[in-house]
Symmetry: D2
Subunit: 436 residues, 4 copies
């Protein structure tokens, strides 16, 4: 039986990871065809990645048909899974998302604060179009979205596109599970974290090892220490004993932006002056990665890829596709519709939640009421996300402004306007829904 | 490592099934000790069952230490699992629960209507006491309750006792899954039904076979036919095409009491006149079962047990204990706290719900909003159950009356009082919480 | 300033009451024009009523321009208030709503059970059309709906028509307030009842006299007695001490159908055999009323009108219009959108609720959670009403069936179909939305 | 009939306003006795105020018995109304609430941010004690609380004390109504604002003049202008056109702390360096006020009182007491239990809401779902308030920390601890519930 995967943004430097994942899982998930799709602007990179992927498949000896194309509609025919890993505007756009807020004294980050909002504004219309294509051309296919901000983008698709087979994935829960396993010196497979919240704002509420609650042990070890817990793209300042003890929760690295704003801002501004933005660092990294990829001798995913913040994203996605295909009914952490899992949040909100993975999709496990300590901020973040999605769809200036002013990292009614205006102008060509 | 099971109501005729289950699962669930506990009045039956169980264990060759006793507190020491299968007042009380409402022209049934309310009134105080003993003597033990009305009793314990490791089980979801498998001619292991509602009022919303939605096929086959779907203790009148088609749900056999009241009542009254109540039929059945059990040659659970309505109850319980012990994270249907799985119902309501079974307990899978067609009646039944629990705890006459008058099978404000008064008098000795 | 009232169903025998109300309130509510509108079939009655109304206005000496017409669109021009009191299919249709269910052993009643559902099915499409006319022709006008089932009809309009200035009124809260005043021997103006529930299913939760809580006194006096509490169209069997005491609520007369079903049914069937249906009684009453109305000497609303069940309906409506016009901010009981007043019910449900009456509409006063004793049945009734509205809009047979089978007075899955089919056939010509 | 008012914190400089209010309203609210109560430390001020009050009463010629005392229990005997206007720790404590956060670069304010939290910590235990006294000595008395933070304090009492007749009042809604009337050039009596939110975080959603919606007109005039809108104790920076237009809401002056944090902080730090804190300014003001009050010729509330931020507070309280006493059923804006008025917030939250004022208390009018633009921040503020109340009751350090870190004006996990620790030490003698 044919099993076809289409990778949107196939020219991404992360693609070798997904190819490796497909090869590794071939026995249980026998993909018969992989098509890498990209746009005109990414043609050069697509060639490099396509050729590397081909060498990887050849080396594996698996009967996988691999090709690459700029013709998305053609590629989608008969697809079973469509993964998305795009970056509208490329790293240049990211650099602006980071630089402009920073220059006004606000957090400038890829998926948080003003930068994250702008990335959502650029991305949502493009993925809406993809979702409509999928719905028309291959209506039974699952979209596995790992384009950031993954949670917001997934919610936008589930609320506004006809295609409902959409799941968002992120490597943060994966990383937290692995770090926790390291802390406890156990195997990651034996660790289950009960997550609560949304993508990039998710907390760990309980840590179980083979079903036994070991949360307190993890919390104690987390205190004060600078554990190797953050992905490559985020600072790692550690957490105070008081914060961990009083909330009783495992924060994720992105929470530093919200609860250590001053220190992160100071560090980021300093680092910006010394090295430029993260985007600029990544541009260099990308350049050297593509040099490595171009080596015709290379037949494997190179080690260097792990230095990117998104490492393991595709591993998470491959596991998910495998469980859907095989109706495994195992528990994975995905971005999907709340449906009551967190009763405090709207039923149609997308949350990052442990779910039973079946052939008909993820079934979220209930989490119960949010912990009192964070219910306010979690609710506010979700309400903010709703404003972002609304503005991304309507292209209305006032809606965009509301998203800015209600974001905890912006907030200021006058500054929000200044930063928004500068960003809208900077990204104008990628924001067709906004009227200028 | 020791693994101890205590069976409360060990003298029940269902016990051989649980013994068989323990033997069958020994490799994955190596129970090292089983204690059967009963009360003075059940001493004779306990002896018979104890001896049969001993012969079964001996035949199996498994190193299980089996004993029986009237000393509950002693038995509970170091218990890991405590199963409950008691009948306060015995079959005599059941006969009254059936006879008295019927004599006034109302459904008289063991777990529904006036009879079910009275069973809850008799049972809850006794199990509350057990729960307190467990909490004191073996606080880490799980209570696996299959005493009816299982959902109401479980909710009462979870709301009012300190012991929170309580799970309710019922054979109805098991039966529905098996009947559905038969209808589709597939293996029961491959069938998953998405259930919605409460114990004895649960509907099937979706039927998946290996993850594929085959609900419509089942619904079509269900229409009009009198499928072999009801347990032995309930009539089987079949369902109209219109009901199945318009609700799009699989009813359970108990729903006949609510949606075919007139016909069931007519049948039950006729049957009552011809054969007496179901309780009286069961008394005979029990008598002959115990004769069989007394046969010193018998070393197995006899076939005849399957004629009882509760067959497979213990099989369900054994599976559950196995998954808890092994942290299997498989999906089973249990009675546990809602926690948002059905957002329309209170978070602390007990519902019958597909749950991931772990060593730290069941984690319910979200179901989303109730189907519009049944949300009213499901909500009403839950509100009614709350009134039953309140009255069982307070022993307040007015609370008891409210439970009666708000039960859809009673409803009449004057008749409710008459039937309630007669039942309270009849069961007086088993209702210490009520003041007479 | 012109102030224009249009009375839809102007040929109704209740119209003299509304004319009297307008005259009585002229000083504070100076209506300058009243147009009575009816359909071709009601032309004769419209003439009679129109002439009587003219004589009433003339006698009053108020400068009110009164006219009557069959041209609804013309009449609506510049209207400020549009009151509706129509009966689609007339009393003949009502007779069928009463006869057919009764003949199958179910409650046959104008606004409850199967009959009430059919009345909703006939009425909603007609009033939807009116609402669209109003929205187009006189968008600032308030529709004051006293067409039954008033709550269901109002919810249908508020949910499905563009016109949102719609308020439903009923005389039951008015009657309960007056009866209560009589019980306590105080003036009705000093009595405020805190109502909870929906039209024709509303309970009194608290009775205040000049702000002092006198609920218990009223409940005590209500017990057992057959107070003069029911309108002319409903039986009056009284309530048991136990029911009143345990719920702590004032039932309304319609609750007898639900909590005294057996006795009401027995009475209704007996009365049906002796006198025919209520509709038939009303036909006679109407005939004699119109004879009285035709008397050219008559210049007042005759006493005989009070024998109809709907007496005081128009008084309630007149008070409401007066408070809207004058922005009185007084408290009246109306049918309007819940908006959280009862948190257990959907925000967009229409409930019968004490509201502050302003020029921009009624503002409901919060009631808090439903009393535990009735929350189940109230919720179920609301869920049932939603099914009725859905079916009235879609004309889908299965939706209609669901409304029948989920109505507590029907319930039976097989009988529901039989009664529904017979009623659909009987009313076919008034149910254009249903396909036959 | 006797009508007795007890003023807790009677030595407050605001007391002359309440005395004036009582005299002014004597005809409809014939208070027969007023007792001013204060503590030992306030004895001197109580004397001055008591004597001034006496002179005011004498001048009025009303038969009001006025006295002052340090014996609270005695004073409470037979009280009908108990108003509270206390400041635990006096202006010295306030100065610390303002200075300490400011010195760490955070907003230092009497009722917002870290300062407001500390004020709640000092005040709640004292008022809990008062509430228990009232409940024991004069259980039918209403507590009219205008002690800040008025909303939080009222919620604490309603959740944790037995006495449930507690209403909170604030002058902000009053001020907004008057400013709006000025903007529209109409009489304040004709203006009704639909408020949404909590005390000091309340927005105006709709402005009606004699029932006509004139919201947009007010919003337009509000934009950009620095309207005379803030009370004396708050900066007045004005609002941007974009903020007003996009939210469509009337902010209150305190919102500047949240949406103009940078600018307010800059201004406050500058002002702090130039003039010291607001507390210090008020100390001077108080001093000169008391000099004026001591003038034995003075028989009226002096004009100078209006320079305090809390002006009109007591006017609001007097109106409220009048409506309760007379069961007026008029609409006033008070702090009372939500009860569903804002369905997004917990039913037992205290909100600032338009309510019908009756003799049995305020009945909130429903507001419906929060506007999308502010629902996140309003919810978060309420969740934060819950943390404050919890900590004020438990005296638990971690609870206190959670309130700090979840306050939008603090937020930083490390700085929160530093500021909290410094404040706890500074206020140690007024925080008996905390363990040091």
């Amino acid at each position: 039986m044919a099993l076809k995967l289409v990778v949107i943004g196939g020219g991404s430097s992360y693609t070798p990871e997904i190819i490796e994942g497909m090869i590794k899982r071939y026995d249980s998930f026998p993909v018969s065809e992989i098509v890498l799709v990209d746009i005109e602007a990414g043609k050069g990179k697509l060639e490099v990645i396509g050729n590397l992927a081909l060498r990887m498949v050849e080396k594996s000896g698996k009967p996988i048909k691999l090709s690459w194309t700029l013709d998305r509609e053609k590629a989608l025919e008969n697809a079973d899974f469509v993964s998305t890993q795009i970056r509208v505007g490329g790293l240049d756009a990211r650099a602006k998302d980071e630089r402009i807020p920073l220059s006004h004294g606000f957090i400038g980050q890829e998926t948080n604060g003003a930068g994250g909002i702008m990335k959502a504004f650029r991305t949502i219309p493009v993925l809406m179009e993809l979702a409509e294509d999928v719905h028309r051309i291959c209506p039974n296919a699952w979209i596995i979205n790992f384009t950031n901000p993954a949670g917001i983008v997934t919610e936008a698709l589930l609320k506004h596109s006809f295609h409902q087979k959409v799941i968002g994935v992120c490597n943060i829960p994966f990383n937290m599970r692995h770090s926790t396993a390291e802390i406890l010196n156990v195997s990651p497979e034996d660790v289950r974290i009960e997550f609560v919240g949304m993508n990039h704002f998710v907390f760990g509420k309980k840590v179980y090892v083979q079903g036994i609650d070991r949360t307190n042990e993890v919390l104690e070890k987390l205190q004060g220490d600078k554990l190797n817990y953050s992905p490559a793209n985020i600072v790692n300042l550690g957490w105070s004993k008081t914060f961990i003890e009083s909330t009783g929760l495992l924060p994720n690295p992105y929470h530093q932006y919200y609860f250590q704003t001053r220190d992160v801002l100071k560090k980021d501004i300093q680092s910006f002056h010394e090295h430029g933005t993260r985007a600029e660092k990544v541009m260099e990294l990308e350049k050297s990665l593509f040099e490595i990829y171009s080596n015709q001798q290379l037949q494997d995913k190179p080690k260097e890829l792990e230095e990117r913040g998104g490492a393991f994203y595709s591993d998470v996605a491959c596991s998910l596709m495998d469980s859907i295909y095989n109706n495994r009914e195992d528990v994975q952490t995905v971005n999907t519709t709340n449906n009551g899992a967190i009763p405090d949040l709207p039923d149609d909100a997308v949350i990052e939640v442990n779910s039973v993975i079946t052939s008909h999709g993820p079934e979220p496990i209930t989490e119960g009421a949010l912990p009192a300590s964070v219910k306010g901020i979690v609710y506010q973040m979700k309400a903010f996300e709703e404003l972002v999605i609304l503005a991304a769809i309507t292209g209305d200036y006032n809606d965009a402004y509301k998203a800015f002013v209600m974001n905890p990292l912006m907030g200021d009614e006058k500054q929000s306007k200044i930063v928004l205006d500068e960003l809208l102008t900077a990204h104008q060509s990628y924001l067709p829904q906004f009227h200028f």
